[in-house]
């Protein structure tokens, strides 16, 4: 990149990138956005919960236990795309060395891991009334379990390395390797599942869901995404305070509050 001159518009882009990537401006912008995010995510999850518990009709096969779908499926979706977003942050950090991307990577891992954990636990609880056992090596549950291992690997590598700069680059590298593997893992587990369990049906996979069932699901998925972003930004702000405590603006903030 540095060996040849960049056209102007790219320089402007880079400049803008670095401005947004500055911890201080991120802290200020996110501080203004966060209240809105909290309200939006709280409202959509609340709506989704009331809708799914109170108004969604019973499933003709699964009865009331289908209501667990409304917290299992969004968790599984957000767990997966959370890993992908974390890997994007890792790529940005490796390519442009933007500090904030490393903060993003570090803060996404524990949130992603706990949402993955939720997807697993709710899946297991849903499995009991549906299949009669707590755990089935169902395609989605199995690949979610592997996803949890991938998250835990990121957290373990981060905590094992003392130097923050190289810890950031190493976890970014690992997240990229993981995200390349994720579709392969998912495909292979799906394929393995169809080989071994040809007859039984998988969690939440219905040929055609009526609108009264999938609209609340959509609301819940949206709510989970918003909630993920809210938690992510909140954690990033705390981590920025932690990392930038030598700077004037953080010290002024600490003394002032």
């Amino acid at each position: 990149m540095r060996f040849f001159s960049l056209p102007d518009y790219q320089l402007i882009m880079l400049n803008w990138f670095h401005r947004l990537g500055a911890p201080r401006s991120f802290y200020e912008i996110s501080g203004r956005l966060l209240p809105v995010l909290w309200v939006l995510s709280g409202l959509s999850i609340l709506t989704g919960v009331i809708w799914s518990l109170g108004f969604v009709p019973e499933d003709y096969q699964q009865g009331n236990s289908v209501r667990i779908m409304y917290i299992h499926v969004p968790a599984a979706i957000v767990a997966q795309s959370g890993y992908a977003m974390m890997a994007v942050a890792g790529a940005v950090f490796l390519i442009w060395r933007i500090k904030i991307a490393d903060v993003a990577l570090q803060c996404a891992a524990p949130i992603g891991a706990s949402i993955t954990f939720l997807a697993l636990v709710t899946g297991a609880i849903w499995g009991k009334p549906t299949w009669g056992t707590w755990w089935v090596w169902d395609a989605r549950l199995t690949s979610t379990l592997v996803l949890l291992f991938l998250y835990l690997g990121i957290i373990a590598l981060r905590s094992a390395m003392e130097n923050r700069e190289s810890a950031g680059r190493a976890t970014a590298m690992l997240a990229l390797v993981g995200v390349v593997n994720l579709p392969i893992i998912k495909y292979s587990v799906d394929w393995w599942f169809t080989l071994h369990q040809p007859s039984s049906f998988s969690l939440g996979e219905k040929p055609a869901m009526p609108a009264e069932m999938w609209i609340p699901l959509l609301v819940m998925v949206l709510g989970y995404y918003l909630f993920f972003f809210t938690l992510w930004a909140t954690r990033m702000r705390v981590e920025i305070l932690n990392r930038e405590f030598r700077t004037d603006w953080v010290q002024r903030l600490v003394v002032g509050s």
Binding site: L94, V146, F149, L150, L152, G153, A156, L157, A160, M161, E162, N163, E165, S166, R169, A170, M173, L174, L176, V177, G178, V180, N181, I184, I185, Y187, S188, V189, W191, W192, L195
Partner: protein, 220 residues
């Protein structure tokens, strides 16, 4: 540089052959534990043989992959190599290749005997041999990424397993299904191509990722 690294690593190993033999002993012992722990019955062992052999191969590779860069890092020769030569990727590639020559290849050669002890039929034994021949290089390639990211850490051992084992899942699935198909007398060329695709994918990406990992670890 690639060949030079291989020659150098092999020479080091031939002076102390324990490093090659230990993973093999481990491989055999782990496989021996299964008849003892589950059942010596022929039907049971034949059923679990592909999984047992493959999981044992995974673990044996992981144990040995951890030291892939560590020795050279501790005596400073890794940094020397990087100073003198610009071709980091070919050095790392050489390390991966010599790791495969020292563990993956012997494991593959040893596997028919162990499969025989687990009552796998001749078709299945052939499938095990070919699945390991294509699969063990993938084990070394992906393992190298984990080794590259952790060699500078004091407690690297278990960490490598945590980082790398999830990445082995697709390989394990395709390889064991290939062996099962082979043992059932079915055509397994489809699986063979799958493993070949995984191998070429990891041949393309893993040396680059591992070299980047080496650079990150050295910069600490």
């Amino acid at each position: 540089m690639f060949l030079k690294t291989i020659r150098r690593d092999l020479a080091v190993v031939f002076r102390s052959p324990a490093e090659v033999i230990n993973p093999l002993i481990f491989f055999v012992i782990v496989i021996t534990l299964f008849p003892l722990g589950i059942s010596p019955s022929e039907a049971v062992l034949r059923e679990i043989a592909p999984g047992v052999i493959w999981v044992a191969a995974l673990l044996a590779t992981l144990l040995s992959v951890e030291v892939m860069f560590r020795g050279d890092f501790e005596d400073g020769s890794l940094e020397q190599m990087l100073l003198n030569e610009r071709s980091l990727v070919s050095i790392v590639g050489g390390k991966i290749a010599s790791h495969w020559l020292m563990t993956g290849l012997p494991l593959t050669i040893l596997s028919p005997m162990l499969a025989l002890m687990l009552f796998v039929n001749p078709e299945g034994i052939r499938a095990i041999f070919f699945s390991l021949l294509l699969g063990t290089p993938i084990l070394s390639l992906l393992g190298a990424i984990g080794a590259a990211l952790t060699f500078s850490l004091r407690r690297g051992g278990v960490l490598v397993s945590i980082l790398v084992l999830p990445l082995y899942v697709p390989l394990l699935i395709f390889a064991t299904e290939m062996v099962k198909a082979g043992a059932a007398g079915l055509d397994y060329t489809g699986y063979f191509y799958w493993l070949a695709a995984l191998l070429s994918l990891s041949l393309g990406f893993a040396p680059l990722a591992a070299s980047a990992g080496v650079k990150i670890s050295l910069s600490q």
